[in-house]
Symmetry: C2
Subunit: 139 residues, 2 copies
DNA sequence: CAAGCAGATTAGAATTATTCTAAAAGGTGA
DNA sequence: TCACCTTTTAGAATAATTCTAATCTGCTTG
């Protein structure tokens, strides 16, 4: 019987290598938490707590290192909505955010329907990096 | 000769009182730096350096306290664009921002021409606070 | 399947931004 | 002027993040 290769079981080692990162135990453990299951918005502290719960020992420094590397490699984006707290977002599709200020929650909304029209041209000598739309709401 | 009252010389004491804040020396000194001249985006550290240059002694703790109070009183707004750095914005009119990521500069652009259309309704039980549009560019 | 080595992880110290504490000073209404 | 409540302040504390330098580990080579 031929070995089945199921594309439903994502191979994080392969994915990390494709991104130019060595698939170490820690990075694979973090990738699993981050990327299996749906899109997520995590903080470093939160991710650290989660990965510890899977009984993989990963230091907090490594969580920070990894999140920064994943971001630089284009596997994550960083969203800054509140002073002193960064969220890392596994949803790399074009989308925007609701931020519930009263409880610090961040929610996606698709950019399909949203149009941002009439933006001025970027200042001389600069190139566009990203347009963030953050809808702030409170309970 | 009757004393002239020029509306071109803003009376910060009056303005602070109107906002429910006692016009202390420190608050007046900071208000002067912040509000005379055009619109500004300042950090706490930057404002502290500026006010010291006017030979008014104001502690950094007071700069932080004052910026937070001015924001809560509606004299300023806070803009968070990068992790670990808050900008306080004296421009209270409806507008959006360019953020030059490579050198940390924040620039206004008027919201006249900009239309954000098709925003979804806020989640149940929340009310809209503000919509931020941040155009990130790099040199 | 060794080594060998560059790259990764880690504990803990360091840094940065910001807030807190508690004592001294100041603004204001009577 | 006085009393009283508010504000300021130095310095300690906190929180998020980064750095250091020693140890470890994934990968290539022989
Ligand atoms: Mn970072
Ligand atoms: Mn604040
Ligand atoms: Zn998102
Ligand atoms: Zn502005």
């Amino acid at each position: 019987m031929v070995r089945m290769i199921s594309s439903a079981i994502p191979d994080f080692a392969v994915r990390l290598r494709a991104a130019g990162l060595r698939p170490t135990r820690q990075r694979v453990a973090l990738a699993r938490v981050l990327f299996e299951g749906g899109d997520r918005h995590v903080t470093a502290e939160g991710l650290h707590a989660e990965v510890k719960a899977t009984s993989h020992r990963v230091s907090l420094a490594t969580v920070y290192n990894t999140l920064n590397q994943f971001r630089d490699a284009g596997l994550l984006r960083e969203v800054v909505v509140a002073p002193g707290r960064s969220y890392f977002d596994t949803n790399m599709s074009h989308h925007h955010h609701f931020f519930i200020e009263t409880d610090g929650e961040l929610h996606d909304f698709p950019s399909d329907k949203v149009t941002v029209a009439g933006l001025p041209t970027p200042p001389k000598g600069t190139k566009l990096s990203r347009v963030d739309v953050i809808v702030r709401v409170r309970r």
